[in-house]
């Protein structure tokens, strides 16, 4: 089962390669020259760099203020800093466009994606700061270093890795984002791929663009893993964190954080509420409930299928530690870098040429979900599974239980609640998925996400409002809460091992 799962998730990537190079190198070069490929590449890279830089700046500052300063209301700001994760970026894009119809272009995309991905940096850095022992800062002060010198020479080196890895997540998100950049009409690779596919049915062009995008993403990942080399210096669990007095900086910082929160949360929520009120009387509840039903149907079946396969892989990898398991795990991460639009596109090609009978079926949509979310599901599910250490399996075997009995009586009871939570998280993530659903859904099937996208495309903001609102309420907020809960669950492992 694990092998099947990995093969499923590898289909798109492999097929894309075959497709592009099967058409010959000349046509590959030609389609690059014929289009604005370089311009698009520059657009995508510029946006990714700009967004990740600003997200790193904002996220790191938010984390430092929340964990290490004495800013009044820092607990509120801490929640506000992570909350934008509950709003899918295409929903945020819709809500801004609905307020300012001319909201478009580079600046719009930059602003939306910055506030949308800064929480990724914020979470990673605040975790690093919480682990950091501030005694080292005190030692530095006692050795004569001033406040800024301490920040630069002691604090920063300890959180640098967290900042950079958060920035990387942000850059990868930007490269693969389709919904938000499309809504604010900024031409990136993902949008161009979609347009090339839509407008001309020139599949070779779309495939070429897709392959370049994958190459860029992989390049980013390679650079990242090269630079990772050194491990973070401080691994102590901090017991004491002194807070730093901000003095005159308090007021400006409160103003700044409030400003960020209004861009990331207040405007979208106000816009959503307003358009909902405007739109509710005319809402076609029949359509909304149909979209709701399809969304739930697709996400529950896709999420459960993905989670089930992830459990199978995780068991092979974490439990039985086979060589095969290792290969499987690595292969899954290969596809992690592939943007949703690319997965969708390659599945279109694949089904058209190899398996026409699955084109325009829900099965194809489900395969796309598995390919897209298997890595996330795997990491979410490995956490609860690792809470049942291998030594428990050995004890169980020494008491006369077979592997299956051990699975039933030890591993699943311990990991069960965590697996359930992780599965729910995957379902909620699938619920928000846009590009693959958009390209692959059978004709006539509309989900909350695709409805929102279509209505926004024709500026029918009030019609789109209930879909946006439902998406945030159903998928965003529970996913955000669950994600936090699963992360917190990690803590008791330490107790288990300490004995």
């Amino acid at each position: 089962m694990a092998v099947v799962a990995v093969l499923l998730s590898l289909i798109p990537f492999g097929y894309l390669l075959v497709r592009v190079f099967g058409a010959g190198f000349d046509s590959f070069v030609e389609s690059i020259e014929r289009t604005r490929t370089l311009e698009l590449l520059a657009n995508s890279l510029l946006l990714a760099i700009a967004v990740s830089l600003s997200a790193m700046l904002i996220g790191t500052a938010q984390a430092w203020i929340a964990v290490r300063s004495n800013l009044p209301g820092r607990k509120v700001f801490a929640v506000l800093a992570a909350l934008p994760l509950a709003i899918p970026t295409y929903v945020a894009a819709y809500s801004w466009v609905a307020v300012i119809p001319g909201f478009s272009g580079f600046f719009a995309a930059w602003l939306l994606l910055t506030v949308g991905t800064a929480p990724l940096v914020y979470l990673s850095v605040s975790a690093a700061l919480a682990r950091f022992d501030s005694a080292t800062e005190e030692v530095a002060s006692s050795l004569g270093a001033g406040k800024f010198a301490v920040l630069r020479k002691v604090t920063w080196p300890n959180i640098k890795g967290a900042t950079l890895s958060g920035g990387l997540l942000s850059a990868l998100y930007v490269l693969s984002d389709f919904g938000a950049v499309s809504i604010v009409r900024y031409d990136t690779f993902t949008r161009a791929i979609y347009n090339a596919y839509r407008a001309s049915f020139d599949r070779n062009l779309a495939a070429t663009l897709a392959l370049i995008l994958v190459a860029v993403t992989v390049l980013v990942l390679v650079v990242e893993s090269r630079s990772k080399g050194r491990k973070p210096i401080g691994t102590v669990i901090a017991n004491r964190l002194n807070r730093i007095d901000l003095r005159v900086w308090k007021l400006p910082l409160v103003a700044l954080l409030t400003g960020i929160a209004s861009v990331s949360l207040v405007v979208p929520l106000a816009s959503l509420t307003r358009w909902s009120i405007v739109g509710l009387p005319d809402t076609d509840w029949q359509e909304v409930s149909e979209a709701l039903f399809s969304s739930i149907y697709l996400s529950v079946s896709g999420g459960m299928l993905t989670a089930l396969l992830a459990v199978a892989i995780a068991l092979v990898v974490v439990r039985f530690k086979t060589r095969l398991g290792f290969v499987l795990e690595r292969s899954v991460w290969l596809t992690h870098a592939t943007p949703g639009i690319v997965v969708a596109l390659s599945l279109v090609f694949f089904s058209n040429q190899v398996a026409p009978w699955i084109y325009q079926t829900l099965l194809l949509v489900l395969i796309a979900y598995v390919a897209l979310f298997l890595p996330n599901a795997l990491s979410a599910i490995s956490i609860p599974l690792s809470q049942s250490p291998i030594s428990l399996d050995e004890v169980s075997a020494s008491l006369g239980l077979t592997k299956l009995q051990t699975l039933r009586r030890v591993v699943l009871p311990i990991a069960g609640p965590g697996i359930f939570a992780a599965t729910t998280l995957v379902i909620l993530t699938v619920l928000k998925e846009l590009p693959a659903t958009l390209l692959l859904r059978p004709t006539g099937v509309e989900t909350l996400a695709t409805r929102l996208w279509t209505e926004t495309g024709v500026a029918a903001f009030s019609t789109a409002a209930p879909y946006a609102l439902l998406l945030v309420l159903l998928a965003g907020i529970p996913a955000w809460l669950l994600n936090r809960a699963i992360r917190k669950d990690l803590e008791p492992i330490g107790d288990l091992e300490r004995a």
């Binding site: 250490p389 030594s391 428990l392 050995e394 004890v395 169980s396 075997a397 020494s398 008491l399 006369g400 239980l401 077979t402 009586r409 030890v410 009871p413 311990i414 107790d495 288990l496 091992e497 300490r498 004995a499």
Partner: protein, 341 residues
């Protein structure tokens, strides 16, 4: 024999961890496998338990072959109890359920009786409804032992079970567990790197060095008659002195010493003397001088400079000579002589 190892070898990659080990363990015997970290003692335990498979050699438990060429009995069918270093209680179960985990084919009443009886044995009967995660380190180990004993295994394996406990608790739990194991006359193999632990608790000690048993014997033999210099220095301090055999005695810079083992006349070699075998006699005309002293309360280690070398002697705490005192060094009892190869 409960356990027979014959010529058991195991490698990981290019590194050979166990090189043809053989050992017999009799019914009711308590054997400690003593070795430094990396000596392969945990590997040996895992082979006996059935968590890993040997590369060659045979393992039998109660006369039944469990590992050999083309034979491998899985851990769950071996009837070998196992107490890991961290106790590894099932965190989702209560103390009672942990102990009952491996019980099979018993009626409800018999099951409850058996668990209560075991909990009583390890003095944990008042904890049966507690969650396993609420116990202290020592309590966890007692429950882990009861759990391992429950299915009445042929053999109990203890994997450094006391290493994670602090020093005082370690000694106490060690005694308790030894008493419990004696009471049920269990056959036990303990793996440890702590020589004091091995010597004090076991009927026999098997000293594992570089993948081989360097010496197997009762604790007294192991301590007082190490087979070679390496074993002598591994098991506690030893002072190594050059010597030569002359008329049945060994002549050294510390005088004519009585031999424990036999040696050929006129052969040269080394003598290993335990620090507690020295007697330091205060003597104004002595040729040796005390140059250092570490005080431990019940005893002290005294560094003495003799005309030929520096020795470390163990001396009763309150009566240990002061630094700067002149002494004469005597060696009490017999010593072991290791001829040069």
């Amino acid at each position: 024999m409960i356990l027979t190892l014959s010529n058991v070898s195991k490698s990981f990659g290019t590194q050979t961890v166990l090189k043809g080990l053989s050992l017999d363990v009799a019914d009711g015997e308590f054997v400690a496998v003593l070795g430094s970290s990396g000596s392969g003692k945990t590997t040996l335990l895992r082979l006996i338990a059935g968590f890993d498979e040997p590369d060659s050699g045979e393992i039998s438990i109660s006369g039944k072959l469990v590992a050999a060429k083309s034979v491998f009995v899985a851990a769950e069918s071996r009837k070998v109890g196992y107490v890991p270093q961290d106790a590894a209680l099932f965190p989702h179960l209560s103390v009672f359920e942990n102990v009952a985990f491996g019980l099979k084919g018993l009626g409800k009443a018999a099951r409850v009786d058996r668990v209560r009886q075991l909990l009583k044995l390890v003095s944990m009967e008042s904890f049966e409804n507690q969650s396993a995660t609420e116990l202290s380190g020592g309590q966890k180990h007692r429950v882990a032992l009861a759990r391992a004993l429950a299915p009445e295994p042929e053999l109990i394996l203890l994997d450094e079970p006391f290493a994670a406990l602090d020093a005082e608790l370690r000694t106490r739990i060690r005694e308790e567990i030894k008493q419990v194991l004696d009471k049920v006359s269990s056959t036990t193999i303990l793996v440890t790197h702590d020589q004091e632990e091995a010597l004090s608790i076991a009927d026999r000690v098997a000293l594992l060095r570089d993948g081989n048993f360097a010496q197997v014997g009762n604790p007294r033999e192991i301590y007082s008659a190490p087979v070679d210099l390496g074993v002598a220095t591994f098991l506690g301090d030893s002072v190594i002195v050059d010597g030569v055999i002359e008329s049945g005695k060994v002549s050294t810079s510390l005088g004519q010493l009585t031999l424990l083992n036999s040696a050929k006349e006129a052969s040269r070699g080394k003598v290993a003397i335990r620090p507690e075998n020295f007697y330091l006699q205060p003597d104004l005309n002595g040729d040796s001088i005390v140059v250092g002293r570490q005080f431990f309360g019940h005893d002290a280690v005294v560094e003495v400079k003799t005309p030929k070398q520096l020795i470390r002697a163990r001396s009763s705490g309150p009566f240990a000579p002061e630094v700067g005192m002149k002494v004469t060094v005597w060696v009490r009892g017999a010593v072991n002589f290791y001829p040069e190869a």
